[in-house]
């Protein structure tokens, strides 16, 4: 469904994504695991066509995102909590997106119900808590009933009940035959949610494997396995912590809040 091939993206002096290639399969939750600043969000932005790769390509169903016929019905994305105008109500936000997607107005009510925001649908989204904002983002992703779903750190800001709800939602979306791609820096969360794992560090692919396979490498502990995989990458380890922080800054550009 999604095919990335040799993706490289540099912001100024920082190499955020470095020759990344991977593919997503339908009917599975693919975890996208890496420490903060490893290039996960940048990769998501490249898939969505928000940023352009310096080299390489990424396609959805064989087309770059901007060539999709009905983008919202092919890909649903929660890139960040705040991808809405604070002065607009949740319902108006979704109605506007539905109009662009040629999606029936009735679907807006449906997705608001699915994420539990019906009661506050008329309120300005700027008044929402982080958890409610995440739910609005998930509602927008589900709006077009797409076959591919991208979630960038979806459980950020959700309470324990919300975390479980999001996990169940992602599992059921995959069970319906969709490709679900979910990024996280939380290894334990990925162990509970994902079938497959794509592990990156400093923009490079470190492992493309299943959760069970990766855990088996370190005698059952996914956490240990993660650090052993991460440690195999000399680039990623990079000796001193200074280097690692430079990598962390890599996906952020000055003046633009983005994780």
């Amino acid at each position: 469904m999604i095919e990335a091939s040799g993706l490289t993206k540099r912001y100024g002096a920082t190499l955020a994504v470095d020759g990344l290639s991977f593919g997503l399969r339908p009917g599975a939750v693919t975890g996208f695991l890496g420490p903060n600043g490893s290039g996960k969000s940048t990769t998501m932005r490249l898939i969505m066509g928000l940023d352009y790769p310096d080299t390489g390509t990424v396609t959805v169903g064989g087309r770059p995102y901007r060539r999709l016929r009905w983008p919202l019905s092919e890909v649903g994305a929660l890139l960040e909590a705040k991808a809405f105008h604070p002065g607009r109500s949740a319902r108006s936000h979704l109605l506007a997106l539905a109009a662009a997607g040629g999606i029936a107005r009735s679907r807006v009510g449906e997705v608001l119900g699915m994420v539990g925001l019906e009661a506050v649908a008329g309120k300005r989204a700027g008044t929402f808590s982080l958890g409610m904002a995440q739910r609005l983002g998930i509602a927008a992703a589900l709006l077009g009933d797409p076959g591919v779903l991208l979630f960038d750190e979806p459980v950020n800001g959700l309470d324990p009940e919300g975390v479980r709800w999001a996990r169940t939602l992602m599992r059921s979306l995959a069970a319906e035959g969709r490709s679900v791609f979910v990024s996280s820096h939380l290894i334990t969360e990925m162990a509970l949610t994902a079938d497959r794992l794509i592990v990156i560090g400093r923009g490079r692919l470190l492992a493309d494997t299943t959760v069970a396979e990766l855990a088996a490498r370190a005698g059952g502990s996914l956490e240990d396995a993660f650090f052993s995989v991460a440690g195999e990458s000399a680039e990623f380890r990079a000796g001193d912590p200074q280097e690692f922080r430079a990598g962390e800054r890599g996906v952020r550009r000055p003046g633009r809040g983005r994780s």
């Binding site: 009905w70 983008p71 809405f84 040629g102």
Partner: protein, 267 residues
């Protein structure tokens, strides 16, 4: 996957300009700030026209031009609203949702410009027609109200009404180029208001090309400027239609440049 009721679309086709335009219309109308800004702009323009009318003592002056005097201050709000329509996408993060729904960027900016331009055109025409009639009714000292049938009056009222739209689109283009609200507003105010104060000192010929002077002296006049026989000290103002063409050109250049960088830059 569950079946969805699709509205106004054939699944074999693809999203089009009208889908992006409908999205932009819902976005524009669902912000309260849009309506507040338009209400203040139109009310302010009419109030100034009425005030000028009440204080007019010279029946030989251009009474239509007097009634339309409120359009020039209103240009500032129209331009700022244009800037915010674009920069607001970036400051809020909405741009990510917008581009997810309509990723073909030149088409998206065109849809935004079409919807915003239409709303501003309507607001501008309402402002000029109401200003014209209210300003005429406010005349005292035995001066009669001008009528739309007099030479050049209807043209002045209609052309002045386009100024909110054209300066608004200039702001929208600047917002797409600059993306930061404060910087874009500064450039807009600098280009539209401040430059007009200095242009005459540097090159007298440039005077007539300043946006506010076009609105004040080309679009909203019914009579040629009463200025001495082509004397050297007399500023040269564009004719109404030439003024309109120059304003259109400014907006088109800003939008074209905005569309060009919008399509090429990371969002």
């Amino acid at each position: 996957m569950s079946a969805l009721v699709r509205e106004g679309r054939a699944d074999a086709g693809h999203y089009r300009f009208r889908h992006a335009a409908r999205m932009e219309w819902i976005k524009l109308r669902s912000l309260r700030s849009t309506w507040w800004t338009l209400a203040i702009t139109v009310t302010g323009a009419v109030a100034i026209g009425v005030t000028v009318g009440v204080n007019t003592r010279n029946a030989a002056g251009d009474l239509t031009n007097n009634a339309l005097a409120g359009m020039v201050p209103g240009l500032l709000l129209a331009g700022v609203l244009g800037v915010l329509t674009m920069t607001g996408e970036y400051t809020s993060g909405m741009i990510r949702a917008t581009l997810a729904a309509a990723p073909r960027r030149p088409g998206l900016l065109a849809a935004k410009a079409a919807v915003f331009g239409a709303v501003m055109l309507a607001a501008g025409e309402i402002a000029t027609f109401v200003s014209f009639f209210a300003g005429g009714l406010a005349l005292r000292h035995g001066i009669g109200a001008p009528s739309l049938g007099q030479p050049g009056v209807l043209r002045a009222v209609i052309l002045s009404g386009t100024s909110f739209c054209l300066v608004g689109l200039l702001g929208l283009g600047l917002g797409a180029i600059i993306r930061h609200t404060a910087v874009a507003v500064t450039v807009l105010v600098g280009g539209v208001y401040v430059a007009a104060q200095f242009a005459g000192l540097i090159a007298r010929a440039a005077f007539g090309y300043m946006p506010i002077l076009i609105v004040a002296n080309s679009l909203s006049t019914t009579k040629p400027e009463p200025c001495g026989n082509g004397a050297a000290g007399c500023p040269h103002f564009l004719s109404p239609w030439a003024g309109l063409a120059v304003l259109c050109l400014y907006a088109a250049v800003a939008l074209a440049a905005g569309g060009w960088v919008f399509a090429r830059r990371d969002a």
